[in-house]
């Protein structure tokens, strides 16, 4: 017997819809669990005080500072490098064997898993360059790790700038760099910012690459050579060593909320850009 194709059509629609909502449901469930278990354990004191007894009591202030420092500093290094690479690839060269090789390099970096960045950062920065477990080693490792994201999003943003803007600028006898700096980059800025925000989110949530480069000291990092513990690493240690479930959930809430808000801001900016150009 042959089933009516229209009935199959309806059944498929129901099936696909429910799968899409099931998947969103996973996200909602994750956020809900973290929120409801973490919220009762969170207060100003938890955020602004130092951990005591390996994190069993007290707060997470040093980890918050460590996370902000490592994310900000690696963004500060990766942004000029990444945006510069994107400008070079889009404005200063034609598609050639050379750009193909550079793009291959960027794609390969993007595919390398974070544990291998950790392994590299550990042997190169921590051991060979004798930085020890330090903020600096963590920052340099994360800089390389987030570089591909910044390059790719900046390239997309720069390519989306209408050609006419450049032609007008050149016709006013502006040089290439003047055109890039005063016309192209300002128009591409929101798109570039989206890439930067997504990279901040990635840096904040990273564990495997930071634990072996920045280490896991519970002290407040006050110099580039100090070891420190990011929120993600602190959460990992609390959860894995079963130190304190309440503190683990509370730390997870701070971590997840900050990453989600960073990402939501990034998507908001991206949507503004899309509606502007379409």
């Amino acid at each position: 017997m042959r089933i009516n194709p229209r009935i199959i059509d309806k059944a498929v629609k129901v099936g696909l819809t429910s799968q899409a909502f099931f998947t969103v449901g996973i996200l909602v469930a994750i956020i809900a669990v973290i929120f409801f278990k973490g919220f009762p354990n969170i207060n100003m004191e938890f955020i602004f005080s130092f951990p005591e007894d390996m994190g069993r009591h007290g707060g997470i202030f040093p980890s918050i500072v460590g996370t902000i420092l490592i994310a900000l500093l690696s963004i500060l290094l990766a942004t000029p490098l990444g945006v510069g690479t994107a400008i070079y690839l889009t404005e200063y060269t034609k598609e050639s064997r050379l750009t193909k090789i550079i793009r291959f390099g960027v794609e390969s970096l993007a595919g390398i898993p974070s544990i291998l960045y950790g392994l590299f950062g550990f042997i190169f920065f921590v051991i060979k360059l004798k930085m020890g477990w330090s903020l600096l080693a963590g920052v340099l490792t994360l800089t390389i790790m987030i570089l591909p994201t910044i390059i790719r999003t900046s390239e997309e943003a720069i390519k989306a700038v209408p050609r006419n803007l450049r032609i007008v600028s050149y016709s006013l006898s502006a040089t290439k760099w003047e055109t890039v700096a005063k016309v192209v980059l300002p128009s591409a800025f929101p798109g570039i910012l989206t890439g930067i925000m997504l990279s901040v989110g990635r840096a904040v949530g990273e564990t495997a690459a930071t634990i072996f480069t920045m280490g896991s000291s519970l002290r407040l990092p006050t110099s580039l050579m100090d070891s420190g513990r990011t929120l993600a690493v602190h959460f990992y240690i609390l959860a894995r060593e079963g130190i304190s479930m309440e503190k683990a959930y509370a730390t997870a809430l701070v971590l997840v909320l900050s990453i989600l808000s960073i990402n939501i801001i990034a998507y908001y900016i991206m949507n503004k850009v899309i509606s502007k150009y379409s």
Binding site: T23, L27, T85, I101, S108, I115, G205
Partner: protein, 287 residues
């Protein structure tokens, strides 16, 4: 005046070129340092004894990582079995069925799954998935099954966003042609749209595999990390990534070199997967 302008242009070009080559320099550094630390052990112990060796006792001179290679592939395929159908369904729903407003909400929501840190996935796996498996199917719960479920969810954003792009790039005229022949929506999707987008969809699966095989923190939390080849989906296992992360902090000498050898094997697998995925995507663009 004109001269300084030209000088400035020249300097800017030099700086930008240097920046552009930094990515290649970093890639070179990563490869050379991991290879430099990992390869000597292959020469000393022998390639065969490492890759096909069953025993990992690095302080006693045994560096066999065969069970971990197999385990890494097991969890990767497990993740694909769970993540691929679900991810593809979401991509099809987003591109073919959802309205504009729904898409504006669903797409970012699904991409937010990628923002949840892997330690959080691992933690929730330990708290919820592991006990469910232990209580309903037996065993310790820390298992191939638990790892596959967690990884299956973690690779969803990769599969959804790349398949979605591939499906969206199928020309509208293909669909219209199919509708004009009297095909229903679903017939159009599975006979016209999905086959036209297949190389992109395949690339999304392969990139998802790359993500799963490289995932570390979530895996060591739910996998159980036992040093043997799992014989059932309820057995614990240790992946290549897990091996590195579990022992790197305290390993020295040959033991540490063994971990870098593990890294070399992982790096080779990842590069092959990325090469295949990029090749697949290129074919789509050319067509």
């Amino acid at each position: 005046m004109i001269k300084t302008k030209i000088d400035k242009e020249f300097i800017v070009k030099i700086i930008l070129t240097t920046f552009a080559f930094s990515s290649l320099l970093f890639l070179f550094l990563i490869f050379s340092f991991i290879l430099f630390e990992g390869l000597p052990l292959f020469l000393k112990v022998g390639l065969k004894k490492i890759i096909f060796g069953f025993k990992w006792a690095p302080t006693k001179g045994s560096f066999g990582i065969f069970p971990m290679i197999i385990s890494s592939f097991f969890v990767t395929f497990g993740a694909l079995i769970i993540g691929a159908p679900l991810g593809l369904s979401c991509a099809i729903y987003l591109s073919e069925y959802s309205g504009k407003k729904m898409k504006m909400f669903l797409k970012p929501a699904l991409e937010l799954l990628a923002g949840i840190p892997s330690v959080v996935y691992g933690f929730l796996g330990v708290i919820y998935i592991v006990p469910i498996i232990r209580n309903n199917f037996g065993g310790a719960g820390f298992s191939l099954l638990a790892t596959s479920i967690i990884l299956g969810v973690m690779i969803l954003p990769t599969i959804i966003s790349i398949s979605f792009d591939a499906i969206m790039s199928v020309p509208k005229t293909y669909r219209e042609g199919s509708f004009a022949m009297g095909a229903t929506k679903w017939q159009t999707i599975y006979k016209v749209v999905v086959p036209s987008a297949r190389s992109g969809i395949l690339a999304s699966f392969i990139l998802g595999m790359g993500r799963a095989i490289g995932e570390t923190m979530a895996v060591i939390m739910v996998a159980g990390n036992a040093l043997k080849i799992p014989t059932s989906i309820l057995d614990p296992l240790r992946t290549l990534t897990g091996n590195i992360a579990l022992e790197l902090a305290y390993a020295t000498g040959d033991h540490r070199m063994g971990l870098f050898s593990t890294g070399v094997v992982l790096l080779v697998i990842i590069m092959i997967l990325n090469y295949i995925a990029n090749f697949g995507i290129k074919r789509r663009v050319i067509k």
